[in-house]
Subunit: 163 residues, 2 copies
Amino acid sequence: MILDSETKATEHSEDHGDELRLWLRLLTCTNLIEGEVRRRLRERFDVTLPRFDLMAQLDKVPDGMTLSDISKRMMVSNGNVTGLVERLVESGHLDRRTSETDRRVQVIRLTRTGRAEFRKMAAEHELWIASIFADLSAKDVQDLMRLLGKTKVSARNATQRKA
Amino acid sequence: MILDSETKATEHSEDHGDELRLWLRLLTCTNLIEGEVRRRLRERFDVTLPRFDLMAQLDKVPDGMTLSDISKRMMVSNGNVTGLVERLVESGHLDRRTSETDRRVQVIRLTRTGRAEFRKMAAEHELWIASIFADLSAKDVQDLMRLLGKTKVSARNATQRKA
DNA sequence: AACAACAATTTTAGGCTTGAAGCATTTCGC
DNA sequence: GCGAAATGCTTCAAGCCTAAAATTGTTGTT
């Protein structure tokens, strides 16, 4: 049993240092990229990332979405979306109207100019992202995709069983 | 030249969809985990992630750090750290004193109880992270580590040459 | 119709974050 | 030593974000 101390879990205090380091690296990596994207959006288009993300959701559908839909898709709170939409209506990018069949719901759409502006931003944004991942091979990208997919599933499992 | 249209870059409008999807997945993954960690820190210890992170930095050194050191290590703005430290001094976790050799400098330390509380939180935190990555094999973890390392370098290159 | 349950949204209080402007102190160049 | 530049920190305005409470509207039951 020469491998015992390596392979067998000691009752308490296993070593989870690798997972911790992985999480820290994942966080650093994401923050690095996200910070850069925010900076460029602000410099080039004077827009924030949350606003860009919201417009991206709306650009995918022709007929608008409700606030709840948006908040689910963006995985943020309802109240958050209220404020975001408010500011984007104010700036003329979004159009908001009360549904005729249910007066509780608000239907949000991109305006014509909102959609046009978003498309311009999205095109550049895609190039930024490509340049950020430029040193990775196609295989690296696929591998990362797969491993992050696995991570997502694992995380969801963990959060649901509330271990 | 049968592979030409596949391998050769057309002058404009290459396809960067894979990179974009990778970035979205990276972001989703990180947000999922980060959200869960925030939730648990709040529920279990009534502490926020930024405060936890700040204490983590201070726990690594015996003799305290200056505000600038902290802000560099955490990669956040100076003004941000000012407020964070303020609240943690208020709650008794941190001790703050003006340096004797340079009266501009504030030296921040964990108090005895601050350090004790942090250690308790950190121990649980490590278990949460381990459980979140539980479905990944040791090799998966290593592969992710390596690929994220590569990504970090690539991103830094891209942000520095400001492509 | 009345009433309870539910659903969509807004409001509120508190905290995080940034970039820019401002203040105090130190250091550098002369 | 003196003024200018640099450094460390704080303040400020604006925006983002959340959870929880409040508001408004709909639906199902009796």
